[in-house]
Subunit: 374 residues, 2 copies
DNA sequence: CATTTTTTGCGACACGTGTCTGTTATTTGG
DNA sequence: CCAAATAACAGACACGTGTCGCAAAAAATG
């Protein structure tokens, strides 16, 4: 009511702006009118709220002159209707939740960025949530409460408790997609074919004559990394080699607080342990970099004495010396495929479950791998 | 109305869940009840909506038995009131916009992560927006339309056109804070004292006997980097040295698509140019790393022939070899100070303008700097 | 049982939007 | 100038919430 009275004759907030003007005259502040609701807009152009709404929503049967008049004011003021009232009325929220495992790994963050950009391009706002400090159930319920139309999981989600939340989402009609492996049969997954990628890596090393391969960050204890192990085993078995003796692990690996530290410490463990391998596969390029630095400190040359393969094809793999042989993460392709998968469900209004798609891997051979030296 | 009828006797969506149950009996799906509104909750517990609302909002004068009954159902179902209707009613949105310059620099992303965590800890949702592909005015209006209570700018925002948006925010009563330098007198800034940081760096190099310092990524053309230049000049002038001759720039620096490439190319430019400096200060650790690799390729040892100082104290500065002397970015301290600054305004209901606070820098001396070799 | 106190119910309102229905105003055509 | 067509309006509704005033029921007290 009070607002209505204020509007009769004066644009709202005028008095405030005037006093501001008197306070310091340096900046003229051209008394820019602010329109907050369609009712204000209607009053300002001298039309009814219904007509303005019809114009805003592109209905027919309206005089061109009025359309232009309204649209000009819209352009000037940057007015757009309050999204919350529309969401409340049951319209789509134009929001998609992005459930990020962590901000720590920058390959993951790059994928996040790519996903966000692609969503923005088709008019969706990304609601970014991270699992670092909160409970899965809380976040999932928050996502549903915020009326997100879908969920994209970015990064490695290892907690199997998340499976229940995914089913809850599906039951509520909210489609989802993971961009990394996830150990639940009902989950939708669009991700790089790490099995094939590590098959490529293993074959590359075997071709170079390596017969003992050390694993850094790859273990059968973590379900999401099993795919990599399968690839390694497959390549070995194809050459009648025994994976159990060809693949070498470290008993109690250090905690992975920092990739580079982890790589360096793994290098030390391997070097001081029995059955030192001649080649190593790592879970990402930073670990590979740390390992190479670790080996160098120990007097072991790369690729002279040992070979190291990274993962992701980040900048550091390109520009470290030696540059690092690695498997490309195909970030853009994965993000594009995941977003497309989700959008197609939204378009059709169908919630898909238990579908997975693998994108082919690509080995990038650089300086960190060379012939086995025995 | 139809929903109301459905509710009289059956929890909503029961039929759907039952058919689902018959479809595959493997998972029992314990017919979990879903509560979507306070009205449904009230009907389910046999109370009036007003009473339930009073319970949910912690009013007094309610029987303990009913409180417990309602809260138990809330815990079971994870119900929470629709945030949109409350926002629409004018209640606070509990949302703070985070305006990110880019996802590319990971020191910036780390600060983003820290800010998001701190906001989450005090009950705020972060609305992350990036300026990479959109118009400042559009984003600012979107932020205001989303009823964000404040805006935190993370990363280097160089576009001076943003100043108008900041004033628009202030005029609308939305507080803001930058976490890096920004070239507008009305902006609030909480950031690292880069002037003091580069004073430390310059003094360190001067102590080592260096008299010609090359600049990588630091230029007086970019306003936000002027602070660094001032620090360098101040240190030089304190020792009666002429900044104009002591500081060496490259005429037409390459585009900064990748930090490491940029560093490597800058190394080549300097090495092939006149007046080759004996020491370099860079704008971040990755550029320093790239430069060191570039110098190594050219047969110049670090720190034997040239010294290099990075910025941020990222992992790569710690674990590269040589490890890199750098200035710590004080990410946590900056994020904490910025969030505190914004929250205090929200708490007091005051919008502050043109306040800036500088956090002290810290030089971390490592292997990439050594005595000048002439 | 009567009276007081405590607890709950009922209905309404506001927030901003898009849409619907019936009615009135304006323009167009002859 | 009149009839027909077109355009605009006014008012209502639903979405879900918190709150308010008032009435009614339930409980506690004498």
């Amino acid at each position: 009511m009070g607002v209505g009275v204020c509007l009769t004759g004066f644009p709202p907030g005028l008095n405030r702006r005037v006093s501001h003007f008197f306070l310091k005259k340096i900046i003229p502040e051209p008394a820019r009118l602010t329109i907050r609701t369609t009712a204000e807009l209607a009053k300002h152009v001298g039309l009814s709220r219904a007509t303005v709404s019809r114009i805003l929503n592109g209905h027919s049967g309206i005089k061109q002159k009025n359309i232009e008049r309204v649209m000009r004011v819209v352009d000037e003021t940057g007015f757009s209707p309050n999204p919350y009232s529309n969401i409340l009325r049951g319209k789509r929220s134009a929001t998609i939740a992005v459930y990020l495992s962590s901000f720590k790994q920058h390959a993951v963050v790059q994928k996040l960025a790519d996903v966000v950009h692609r969503l923005a391009k088709v008019g969706y706002t990304a609601l970014i949530e991270t699992a670092e400090n909160a409970d899965h159930a809380d976040i999932t319920r928050w996502i549903m409460r915020m009326r997100a139309e879908g969920v994209i999981f970015v990064g490695q989600h290892t907690d199997s408790g998340l499976a229940a939340q995914v089913r809850e989402l599906a039951a509520a009609g909210v489609p989802h997609v993971f961009t990394e492996n996830f150990s639940d049969a009902k989950a939708n997954i669009v991700t790089l074919d790490r099995t094939q990628g590590l098959e490529l890596a293993a074959n590359h090393l075997l071709d170079l004559g390596h017969r003992r391969i050390g694993l850094m960050g790859i273990s059968d204890k973590v379900p999401v990394e099993v795919a990599r192990l399968i690839g390694l085993r497959r390549a070995l078995e194809a050459r009648k080699l025994d994976p159990a003796s060809a693949l070498v692990s470290v008993g109690d690996p250090p905690a992975r607080v920092s990739n580079m530290i982890f790589g360096r410490e793994m290098a030390q463990r391997f070097a001081s342990g029995p059955r030192m391998p001649t080649a190593f596969v790592t879970v990402n390029d930073e670990i590979a970099f740390g390992a190479i630095e670790g080996f160098r400190t120990l007097g072991l040359a790369v690729p002279g004495n040992v070979s190291v393969i990274g993962f992701n094809n980040e900048d550091i793999a390109k520009f470290a010396s030696p540059s690092i042989t690695t498997i490309d993460a195909e970030i853009e392709a994965t993000a594009a495929a995941a977003v497309d998968f989700l959008l197609s469900q939204l378009l059709k209004g169908v919630v898909i479950s238990a579908r997975s798609r693998l994108l082919p891997s690509r080995l990038v051979v650089r300086e960190s791998t060379g012939p086995a030296n025995r």
